[in-house]
Symmetry: C2
Subunit: 338 residues, 2 copies
DNA sequence: ATAATTTAGGAAACCGGTTCCCTTACTGTA
DNA sequence: TACAGTAAGGGAACCGGTTTCCTAAATTAT
């Protein structure tokens, strides 16, 4: 409070009339000492408001009790959920969390990873856009990594059952009456290929003609542009126009719905719009395959902490199931008044 | 890459045939040395893949080049935006960002603050639920703090023009035809009292009767419960039922819209629903007063970094304007099919 | 009463940087 | 030729912890 300088272990030692090593031993429970001294030390600690310097400790022990989390984009609620889960588990284990937002830029991601590796004991990589071999090179005994939402050999990972989620979503829209559901595909990484497979196989099973449309960008605009270019090829009135759009994520879906509105198409009456997305209060209106983002973050962190403690886990790759979340509401459109 | 241990400054010194201090001087540009030696040192650095240990450096210099960010709830897109802005500025200045999610729990928040203070050079506190005097006690020359969205004397802060935003929002719904807009109020901190004032004063000016309703919780359920208890007091058909609901945030608004749907009320035809919220792609459908969350995070970080560098800034409190964002779409309701 | 063992706690090296101060050699000037 | 002045780089203390090893005292066993 009032002191002008932070108390060090030497201050505590002096106040308690013992040596620095004794203070260290007592505070860490490394060695049992006499009750009398222990009490004197704890009293001094409280009185001085002493807190060990994490930096000094890290230097000395070679471990920082901090983990790094690199995500694709914090504005995307999927990654927000991962941060939530990871943060909770990290805190429960007394670990600090260093967060870095790669902002969808692989070069920036790589640099952030290097920085974070120096600061932390291990890294959680969510939505990495780095090539497989780079990721594999990153994973070492010194600073292990765990990937979220991406499976590759030799690197531990946690993922959702994406293919299954795509199957369920496809079946859902068909059961709701769709005959020509299309999939608006995201970037070509593990998640997207799983979803594509799930979509394609289900379409086959149902005897329907699949249509996979690559999004120009995984954002509002990407969804809107996709809809408009689709409409320019096949007019919305034509019988080939999709009657359901399965969107790579909820942000795309929002853009899609907006664009459909501009074409005077109403969701879900004219076109069903569903998406893959996390559990999130803001998404309760959209029907989606619920990716357990928080769970992925939490379990990914658990996996990382286990490997940090040398307890190499039985399974290197963990899979978690998704659920279907029906939108409680659907979007309709009003003319914008400026 | 292949080495089994991380290279230290001694390794570099040995490889370059110089002393450790020389390596340090060259790498930090502290002292100009002969070109020949500098080149030898840089070559050794590259060859060994040397990266200075942040912990050792922090211990030695007494500064960590890291800042801490404590937020109320990462799932709330307002705080997500703050993280985005803070992360960007921190990275641009070569600072690492430690993130902690208080999960709306003051006790947890306080503990997280203590931990983060030890790790970092300064803290950004967004949505703090701590009492004023505790915050003031936290702010010191050792580890300065900057608050986001909360003004109190002696502590630097960045905020949005919340009162003005409330005025604009109130005027907007009235101009759109509302006669009895109500304000669904959040917890009694700075932000809410500003918004309340703005709402109340505008209602006065317009000669309308204000109605401030305290939310039981600032979340989906809180919004829903508020609507239902409102409806149980004054039936939706009665002429006293609000024809516009100004929500504390977008999450509440989502809950409100859902609850209205259950009462067979459509937004915005029966009841206008508007909110305070950040710039966020997922929110483009809701009409809201746009809080510049990313800017708050960015400028708050700038402010913090300035005070860290001793350049105490001219203004301790910074205000940033909001904008009205009209929802491109509005929500209507369909019966849920399970 | 003495030897053996346990207990309590201190001394010092170490982690990997930074920085102050000093030495040595080289340059230029009187 | 002697001297001051400067450039180049090394030595060593220091940051604040942890940990290994050791000593002295206290306890137990014989």
């Amino acid at each position: 409070m009032s002191s002008t300088r932070k108390a060090t272990i030497s201050d505590v030692a002096r106040a308690a009339g013992v040596s620095r090593s004794t203070v260290s031993k007592v505070m860490n429970g490394t060695q049992k000492l006499s009750d009398a001294t222990e009490n004197r030390i704890w009293a001094a600690v409280r009185q001085l408001g002493y807190q060990a310097s994490p930096h000094a400790r890290s230097l000395s022990t070679g471990r920082s009790r901090a983990i790094g989390l690199v995500i694709l984009d914090i504005l995307n609620p999927h990654f927000t959920g991962i941060v939530k889960g990871a943060g909770r588990v990290a805190r429960e284990h007394g670990y600090a969390l260093l967060l870095a937002d790669a902002e969808e830029d692989p070069a920036q991601e790589e640099e952030l990873i290097r920085t974070l590796q120096a600061h932390t004991d291990g890294l959680l990589l969510a939505g990495s856009r780095l090539p497989d071999d780079k990721l594999r090179a990153l994973h070492g005994p010194l600073t292990p990594i765990v990937t979220v939402g991406r499976v590759l050999s030799e690197v531990p990972s946690v993922v959702a059952t994406e293919a299954q989620a795509a199957r369920e979503l496809t079946r859902l829209v068909v059961q709701s009456g769709a005959q020509r559901p299309a999939y608006l595909a995201g970037p070509s990484f593990w998640v997207n290929s799983q979803r594509t497979q799930g979509y394609l196989s289900t379409m086959m099973e149902l005897g329907l003609t699949p249509a996979v449309i690559s999004l120009p960008g995984v954002d509002l605009q990407g969804g809107a542009v996709a809809v408009h270019s689709l409409a320019s090829h096949t007019p919305p009135q034509s019988p080939e126009f999709p009657d359901a759009l399965i969107c790579y994520n909820d942000i795309v879906a929002t853009g899609v719905i907006g664009a459909l509105g501009q074409l005077n198409l109403k969701a879900p009456d004219d076109v069903q719009v569903v998406a893959f997305g996390p559990e999130n209060p803001l998404l309760s209106h959209i029907t989606h395959a619920e990716i357990p983002s928080q769970q992925l973050g939490a379990e990914g962190t658990n996996l990382l902490l286990q490997t940090l403690n040398g307890e190499l886990p039985p399974l290197l790759h963990l899979e978690f199931p998704t659920a279907l979340a029906l939108g409680t509401t659907s979007l309709s459109y009003i003319s914008r008044t400026s």
